[in-house]
Subunit: 374 residues, 2 copies
C-alpha cells in the first residue's frame, strides 16, 4: 500500500508524506534515476547522505538486462541496488517509444527489438505488471503509449484511448494478484490538448488507482505549453492521491508543477549534468570545465553541506574533469543530488509557511540569472 | 619529519608505525595510487572507510596537469584531494621513462615531450624537489633513471651512477631549503644484478636519507628475480629507516618483500583490477563478468566487511559491469582496497605473533589456488 498524507497546502500546492512499504518520504519529492538499477557513479550510501529519499529505475532496461527473473533471484530491486528506501519503476512504455527499434504497436501489445541485443520482445499491459512485480518496486506504472511531442492530434487521440484501455488491463492484472503492497499508478496522456488531457484523466480516475502520473510532457513542448497542461491537474485528479510528473526536471518546471499541485518528480538531470561537469547552484548553473575555475579555492556553493562542497574546491573539481578522472562526475553528481534534495526541502518549507509564490520568485531570480550563461 | 618506529620483528620482517606530518600509519603499509590526484572512482571518504591510510600520487602527472603551481594555489595536494592522511609523491622519473616522448637524458637533466599536450619539458634533480615541495606530500622521491627490465648491464651501470649522483643533488636541494617537514627518499637501481644493487644502496646510504626505495623492480623481471634483489635489502639499508618497494603489487610479491624487510608498497592493482571487474579475495581472484556469477546472491567475500560486500551480491556486481555502470568499478575498487588493507593488517598481526612464514604459506594456498584460473 502506498498512500499520501497531505499535511499542508499553499494554493494548489501540497506538502505531505508518501507512505510506502519501504518507509515514508516527504513530498513534494524528487526521485533521481537509476536507469539500469544504479544511480550513475553514486552509491546508495552517497545518495542517502545527499538527502535522496526515493529512487526511480526503468523496468524496460532491467527487463533487457539482467532480466526480471535475475533481479528477482537476486532478492529484488531493493536488494540488488543496495537501497532500502522506496523505489518507483517506470513500465517501459516511454523507452519502447524512444529507444527500441522496429516497433509494432497493436491494441494488444507493443512488439520491438531490444536495443541491447536485437532480440524481438513484446510488452503487454499484463506483462509489465508481471515484470514490475518481479522487480518489486513500491510504485509501479501502467504501460502507456507516449507519442512524440510533435505528433498530430489524431495520433494523440489514439494514444489516449489505447493508454486508457491499457490502464484498465494493468489494473485488472494488478488487482487479480491480490497483492496491494505495490501501488499501481496510471499515466495521463493527451499532449498539450486540454480536452484530451481531461478525457485521459477522467478515464484513469474511473479506475480508482492509488496514484496518477502526468506523462507525455518534457518531450519538447516548451515551458509554457507544459504550464497549460499542469493547470488542469488539480481539478482532474482526486485530492487524496499522489500526482507524479514524469521526466521533470528543470528546477523551473518543478517549481511551476508544485504550484499546480504535483507531488512527485523524476529526472536524470542531477546525475547527467554531474557527469558533464555542470553543477546546479542557487546562483545558477556552473560549467566546471571553464578555465575561470582553475585556481578557485571556493567550494561549488558556500551554503551547501554535501561531501563535495565540504571537501573539494572548484579548482580541484575542474582538474578532475580535465584529467578525465571518474571522481569528477561522482562528486558533482553528489552535489547535484544534494541540490535537488535542498530544493525540494525549501519548497516544502515554503508551502508550510504559505509563501510558495514569493519564495519561488526569489529562487528563480538566482537559479536563472538573466543574461548569464554561466 | 618522517620516522619509522619499529615495534615488532619476525625474521627480517618488521611491523611498526610510520610517523608523518599528517599522522601515523601502521607498517607494513600499502599505498593505493591516485595518479592524477584522485583514486580512480573512489572518494577519499570511501578509501578511508575501506582502511586506506596513506596514498601515492604522481608528481609527473600533476606537474603536467593541473601544474604544480595550481596545486599549490589550491592549498596543496592534501587539500586538493580532500585527503588529510599522509601522501607520498613519486618524482616522475619512472613516468618520464615509461610515458613521455622524445626523451633526451644528460647528466644534468632529462628533457621530454609531455604526453598530454606535446610541450617540451625538463626535469632535473633540483626541479623535482621544487615540484614536490609545491605539491606538499609527506614523503617525496629523488629523480632517478629507471632502465627497462631487459636493458643490457652497461645501461644499468650507467643508471645506477646517474641515479646516485641525482640523489646527491636532490639531497642538496632538499637540505638547502631547511624544510625537513617533507622526507626525501632515495631510490635504489641496479636491475637484477646483486653487485649493482649493493653499489646503489651503498651510495644512497652514504647520503643519510630519511628513507630508501627499491626501484626498477616489477618491470618484467619475474617473481624469482625480484626475490633475489629483495634478499639483500635488510643488509643494504639501515634498520631504522623505512624501506619502500615501488610499484608492488601482487599479494605474492608483497608477502615475499615483507619477509625480506620491506615496509612500504604502492600499486595500481586494487583500483585497476576493480575497474576491470576483477576482485581480490582470500580464496583467489574473481572475474565478475563471468556468467557463473549472474544469479549468485553471495557477496564477493563472506568475511569482508566493506561497503560493497555488505550491500551487493556477486550477481548485482556482474550486472553493473555488463550494463557498463560506473558503480561496478567503484564498488569492486572499494572491495579491493579493503582487501589490501586487510592483507596488510593480517601481515602485521602475523609479525607480532611471530608466525609470518606459517601464515604466508596458508594465505598463499588460498590466494593462488593451483590450476584454478578463476
Amino acid at each position: 500500500m502506498v498512500t499520501l498524507d497531505i499535511q499542508h497546502r499553499c494554493g494548489k500546492a501540497r506538502a505531505g508524506r508518501l507512505i510506502t512499504p519501504h518507509g515514508a518520504v516527504d513530498t513534494p519529492v524528487f526521485m533521481p534515476v537509476g536507469t539500469a538499477g544504479a544511480l550513475k557513479g553514486v552509491t546508495a550510501d552517497q545518495a542517502r547522505a545527499a538527502g535522496v529519499t526515493m529512487l526511480l529505475a526503468n523496468a524496460y532496461h532491467l527487463m533487457l538486462r539482467p532480466g526480471a527473473r535475475v533481479v528477482a533471484d537476486l532478492g529484488g530491486l531493493h536488494k540488488m541496488m543496495g537501497w532500502d528506501g522506496p523505489i518507483l519503476t517506470d513500465s517501459g512504455g516511454y523507452q519502447v517509444f524512444s529507444l527500441a527499434h522496429l516497433r509494432t504497436i497493436t491494441d494488444d501489445a507493443v512488439t520491438f527489438q531490444s536495443h541491447v541485443d536485437g532480440a524481438t520482445l513484446a510488452l503487454s499491459p499484463e506483462r509489465v505488471i508481471d515484470i514490475q512485480r518481479a522487480l518489486g518496486a513500491d510504485v509501479i506504472m501502467q504501460l502507456d503509449e507516449c507519442p512524440p511531442g510533435d505528433a498530430p492530434k489524431e495520433q494523440i487521440v489514439a494514444a489516449v484511448a489505447r493508454s486508457a484501455a491499457w490502464a484498465g488491463r494493468c489494473r485488472q492484472k494488478w488487482s487479480a494478484s491480490g497483492n496491494r503492497r505495490q501501488a499501481l499508478f496510471g499515466i495521463q496522456q493527451g499532449g498539450t490538448h486540454t480536452d484530451l488531457r481531461a478525457e485521459s484523466a477522467e478515464r484513469l480516475v474511473a479506475l480508482d488507482l492509488p496514484g496518477y502520473a502526468i506523462g507525455g510532457l518534457s518531450v519538447g513542448e516548451g515551458h509554457e505549453a507544459m504550464l497549460g497542461v499542469l493547470d488542469g491537474v488539480a481539478e482532474q485528479f482526486p485530492a487524496d492521491r499522489p500526482r507524479y510528473l514524469m521526466g521533470v526536471g528543470e528546477p523551473r518546471d518543478i517549481l511551476a508543477a508544485v504550484a499546480a499541485g504535483v507531488d512527485m518528480f523524476d529526472c536524470v538531470l542531477p546525475t547527467r549534468n554531474g557527469r558533464n561537469a555542470q553543477a546546479f547552484t542557487w546562483a545558477g548553473p556552473m560549467r566546471l570545465r571553464n578555465a575561470r575555475w582553475a585556481d578557485d579555492t571556493a567550494p561549488l556553493s558556500d551554503q551547501c553541506d554535501c561531501y563535495c562542497c565540504k571537501n573539494f574546491s572548484r579548482g580541484a573539481l575542474r582538474h578532475l574533469f580535465m584529467a578525465r578522472e571518474m571522481l569528477g562526475p561522482t562528486l558533482v553528481s553528489i552535489h547535484n543530488l544534494r541540490f535537488f534534495a535542498e530544493l525540494m526541502a525549501a519548497i516544502r518549507q515554503a508551502i508550510v509557511a504559505g509563501m510558495l509564490d514569493e519564495s519561488t520568485r526569489t529562487w528563480m531570480a538566482g537559479l536563472y540569472p538573466a543574461g548569464d550563461d554561466e
